[in-house]
Amino acid sequence: MGMVQLSGVRKFYGALEVIKGIDLTVEPGELVVFVGPSGCGKSTLLRMIAGLEDVDYGRVEIASKDVTEAPPAQRGVAMVFQNYALYPHMTAFDNLAYGLRRAGLARNAVDKRVQETAALLQISDLLKRKPKAMSGGQRQRVAIGRAIVRKPEVFLFDEPLSNLDAALRVEMRSQIARLHQELAATMIFVTHDQVEAMTLADRIVVLNAGRVEQIGTPREVYHSPANLFVAGFIGSPAMNLLPATLGPSGVALVSGPVLGGHSGTGEAVTLGVRPDRLTLTSPESAHLSGEAKLIEHLGDETILHLALADGGALTIKLAGDVALTIGARVHARIDMVGASLFGADGRAMRLEGARETEA
């Protein structure tokens, strides 16, 4: 299985630079997810790896071969598209067989490979149908089958699940995870859905405006976001980002309370706290207080949206079904374990003694 290496990759649309110099190595057998908001360049980057977009600067290597100028079909990649991109005039069988036949594989070999792949994906009974006669999920499995059947070095997935309904998406997600395990294949997966990213990825690449914001395992990205962007982007509901100053005795929130750890000389910082790291408390021991503006009862958890006195907002995720009404005065306490601190430049600072949570 192939390694993918990008070095200094840049892409322009006219004068607009959409990929601003990316270095990345995807290890053999690894599943890397590109995640980021719309327009961040994640699909473009994937298509540059596939060879569907030209690379203006830098190089792309797949399995240690420079493929920067190679046509898509000679890069050893297979791609699964968002809209499946099945050949509408061909049966599922022909869709799978097309690439093999064009590569000059013998008829028997083609049959064998297609049947094997179909069995793996449980689409054997679909092989005689044309795409029109299949459901979205079936089409996506055929599309994946078309990628697998060619035994590529690298699989590329371009938001393959976004057209499926929620239940099917979960099912396909686990199927892709299973395939990754079984094939031990190198995969690059593009999504804007962070749940997909978190559940599938060996490593996540967070992209924003054509740049890599962070590369790391899902846990690293979640727990130690490298900067404000990653902090705000990864996690749902999003991390609370509270303005603060770094005083000699610790992090001082604008509203007054001072939290321990990390001392400084009064520079402005941002304290990042995951909603589940806030607990309800009494007014006396509260770090923050606000009015409940919106309460989302999700059954096993409750999400509170508070309006703080200073005009800021705060989201709290509580386990279980918490009985509260809109307009209630709510008092919250921050658990500094897992909290993040970002400097004025937006970069994460190491939070020393974050466990000593008392002022």
């Binding site: 569907l52 990649v77 297979a78 809209n83 991109a85 509408p88 097309y98 064009r102 029109k132 078309r146």
Partner: protein, 313 residues
């Protein structure tokens, strides 16, 4: 309202639907009415009248007189009928496929997104707006054997160009050559088909094989078969009716030596030069039947080679 035991909503609901459908049907008919009237007035009635006139002696002035199959018999023994039918068949058999291939090639070129593709599309369509008569006259001037720019250029290249429209052996082929212009409409139809191919399908094909002709033959062509069918049928219908270029170039006698004598020219001269409407109507009827049969045959075979996007489930 009938009294039933069903809850009122259940009784009302289907009734409302029916009403809506009736209203829709009425509106549908109304919207189609101008077309239906037009079809009846300008297609159906003239068609029936043509069938009738074909069996009469009708010299334009005065009343048609019933003569039965006489006009068809006259056609059968008229050398101009056979000569023009032969010319027209050769013309169609070569002009249509060649035209389709060139138009497809142009469409493939135009389909590449370049800064100038909009400009080229207009340029290729423009000739279609030029009157056929004017276009033909321009080509006749260009192809003048001695002083014509084409032959001057060819001779300068050391070639020995033909007399084009003056040589009986070359004239029909020249006419076929001229029929390849303009290509705007065919090209636009193909281009529409090409642009209808989803980008990702085309990219999937790029990923499957590095050879361009693979994609053309196995993916692109099958996906634009509806446009091929359309262009083919329209092309056949039009080429069987080739007229303006032929009469401008060959006159009513198909100069030189009947090499450019086309079916429609013979039909036209029978009707408006010899005032033999009966014979002209018989020719029109024969043409109608032949084109109808050809079109039906093509449609019948089309099921096996045309891919319709909305097709079989």
């Amino acid at each position: 309202m009938p009294i039933t035991s069903a809850p009122p909503e259940a009784a009302v609901l289907p009734r409302r639907n029916r009403k809506a459908q009736r209203g829709e049907a009425r509106a549908g008919v109304l919207f189609a009415l101008p077309w239906i009237i037009g079809m009846t007035l300008f297609v159906a009635i003239p068609l029936v009248v043509t069938f009738y006139i074909a069996q009469t002696k009708f010299q334009i002035i005065g009343a048609p007189k019933w003569v039965g199959m006489q006009n068809y018999e006259a056609l059968w023994s008229d050398p101009a009928f056979w000569k023009s039918a032969q010319n027209t068949l050769i013309f169609a058999a070569i002009s249509v496929p060649v035209k389709l291939i060139i138009a497809l090639g142009l469409a493939l070129l135009l389909n590449r997104a370049t800064a100038l593709s909009g400009f080229y599309r207009t340029v290729f369509y423009l000739p279609f707006l030029m009157p056929a008569v004017a276009g033909s006259v321009v080509f006749m001037l260009l192809l003048t054997p001695n002083a014509g720019p084409v032959n001057i250029a060819l001779e300068a290249m050391g070639l020995n160009p033909p007399d084009w429209l003056l040589d009986p052996k070359a004239a029909l082929w020249t006419l076929i050559l001229l029929s390849l212009w303009p290509l705007g409409v065919e090209t636009l139809v193909f281009l529409g088909g090409l642009q209808n191919i989803p980008k990702d399908v085309s990219e999937a094909a790029d990923l499957d094989s590095p050879k361009r002709w693979h994609k053309l033959v196995w993916i692109t062509l099958p996906l634009i078969t509806p446009m091929v069918l359309f262009n083919l049928v329209i092309g056949i219908i039009y080429s069987f009716q080739v007229f303006t270029q032929a009469i401008v170039i060959g006159g009513t006698t198909g100069t030189p030596a009947e090499a450019t004598l086309m079916y429609m020219v013979v039909l036209y001269r029978a009707a408006f030069r010899y005032f033999n409407m009966g014979l002209a109507a018989a020719m029109a009827t024969v043409l109608f039947v032949v084109v109808l049969i050809l079109t039906l045959l093509i449609f019948k075979t089309a099921r096996s080679w045309v891919h319709y996007e909305g097709g079989e489930t």
